[in-house]
């Protein structure tokens, strides 16, 4: 499987708006029934794939739940595969996994080298029931892992599942999934949640778990490269930088990314997106983020910023406290991990330099946000 970062071009195609689940945090604001047209999608893809790139093209099929329209996806993919296309390409589908049984399994299994799935899974049965009722028991984990042992998992954290974060991540690990990306739900009003101490406790549990089990790949909260905080300037790149096209089958138009589709932010905002310049993000940064030590670690969705707060770089300040707690624990984790290494890499040296530069800030975060005072010891 090719890492998505290495593709030269990404093409998003919206396949359908329908979904068999009703997740708490779904940001698709339209539940109208829409399904893509196979010939139109095929033409769009053939047009995109007619020019060759260095690292190939990632085609992402996005719903709703794409497997609601399995017969159409099958038809589209098989038509595409039957063409003589010089460009390397690979199909990615993000799914809730609940519809993947019987014929769908058979077809996916025989095409596993041409298609990769990413699973949305919020944790064990209890948390899944909270965020996306009646989904957990419908997922055939055994099939998914057998077919794609390196399958990635997206885990959405809501206020209700945050108290079980560590348990959920460990559970997903125990199923056999190695690559887990947790993220905070953008549909939660974090400001009124007051869950800072709970998050800290959960992350500490994961911190200890990963230190005790160095063979387990930590979830993405613990994988960010803290050495980027040595740079005082913003080095963010928009995720749609490079060659990325998102074709919305509903409006028959291209947008900068699928988050810009009218079905998410409405028609007016979708049109505004087309005129925005995503290339000079450093100039667009705003205070307080512009002056934040963690700016380069603080991944944000520029489209969501624009839809919700009217500016590409205006992050959700109700999440800021939670982000900072994640970064404080990440710095602690890296400190302990690096000290335990016998052969640290040059990058580990840089990370330790970043810890040296920012430990006072970490201390302040813990003091201000959590009233914890003994995290950093000034004397040995």
């Amino acid at each position: 499987m090719k890492a998505s970062k290495t593709y030269s071009r990404k093409v998003y195609i919206s396949t359908n708006s329908t979904c068999n689940l009703n997740c708490k945090y779904c940001f698709e604001n339209e539940k109208v029934k829409f399904e893509f047209n196979i010939d139109e999608a095929l033409n769009i893809l053939l047009e995109q794939l007619s020019t060759q790139t260095i690292y190939g093209t990632q085609i992402s099929l996005r719903g709703g739940e794409p497997f609601m329209v399995f017969h159409k996806i099958k038809h589209l993919c098989e038509s595409l595969w039957s063409q003589d296309i010089k460009e390397y390409y690979h199909i990615h589908i993000t799914t809730n996994g609940t519809l993947i049984h019987g014929d769908i399994q058979k077809w996916l299994s025989s095409n596993r080298d041409k298609i990769t799935l990413k699973l949305s899974l919020d944790g064990d049965r209890k948390s899944s029931e909270i965020n996306r009722p009646k989904s957990f028991d419908l997922i055939d984990f055994h099939f998914l892992l057998n077919t794609w042992p390196e399958m990635k998992v997206n885990t959405t954290i809501t206020a209700e599942t945050l108290p079980y974060l560590a348990e959920n991540i460990k559970f997903i690990n125990s199923l056999g999934f190695k690559h887990i990306t947790p993220h905070f739900s953008i549909m939660t009003d974090w400001k009124n949640c007051n869950l800072g101490n709970t998050l800290y406790k959960q992350l500490q549990e994961l911190h200890n778990f990963y230190l005790k089990n160095p063979d387990i790949e930590p979830c993405s909260f613990f994988l960010s490269d803290i050495s980027c905080t040595l740079n005082d300037k913003s080095c963010h790149q928009a995720c749609n930088s490079g060659e990325m096209k998102a074709y919305d089958m509903q409006t028959r138009k291209y947008y900068p990314c699928y988050m810009c589709f009218p079905s998410i932010g409405g028609e007016k905002i979708a049109e505004e997106f087309k005129k925005l310049d995503f290339t000079n993000l450093e100039e667009l940064e705003e205070y307080p983020c512009k002056a934040c030590t963690f700016l380069n670690l603080c991944i944000t969705c520029y489209a969501e910023n624009y839809i919700t707060r009217g500016s590409l770089s205006r992050r959700d300040m109700s999440l800021c406290k939670y982000q900072k707690i994640v970064f404080a624990v990440l710095f602690n984790f890296e400190y302990n991990r690096i000290l335990s290494l016998t052969n640290p890499s040059p990058n580990d040296v840089l990370k330790m330099m970043a810890i040296k530069k920012h430990y006072k800030e970490i201390e302040n975060i813990l003091k201000e946000e959590l009233q914890i005072t003994s995290q950093v010891e000034v004397n040995t």
């Binding site: 200890n208 050495s227 740079n231 302990n336 040296v349 330099m353 810890i355 040296k356 003994s374 010891e377």
Partner: protein, 40 residues
């Protein structure tokens, strides 16, 4: 507080001291690894 979770600044200094030479020698490599920033 569990000692394992405590950042000790003096320990960082001692740890970094071992790598001072390597750091100087490998400055180019380091810049190469994390290409988005320059070394002070």
């Amino acid at each position: 507080m569990d000692a394992q979770t405590t950042i000790q600044p003096l320990r960082i200094d001692a740890w970094l001291a071992q790598f001072q030479d390597i750091e100087c020698k490998t400055n180019d490599t380091i810049v190469g690894i994390t290409c988005w920033y320059t070394f002070g």
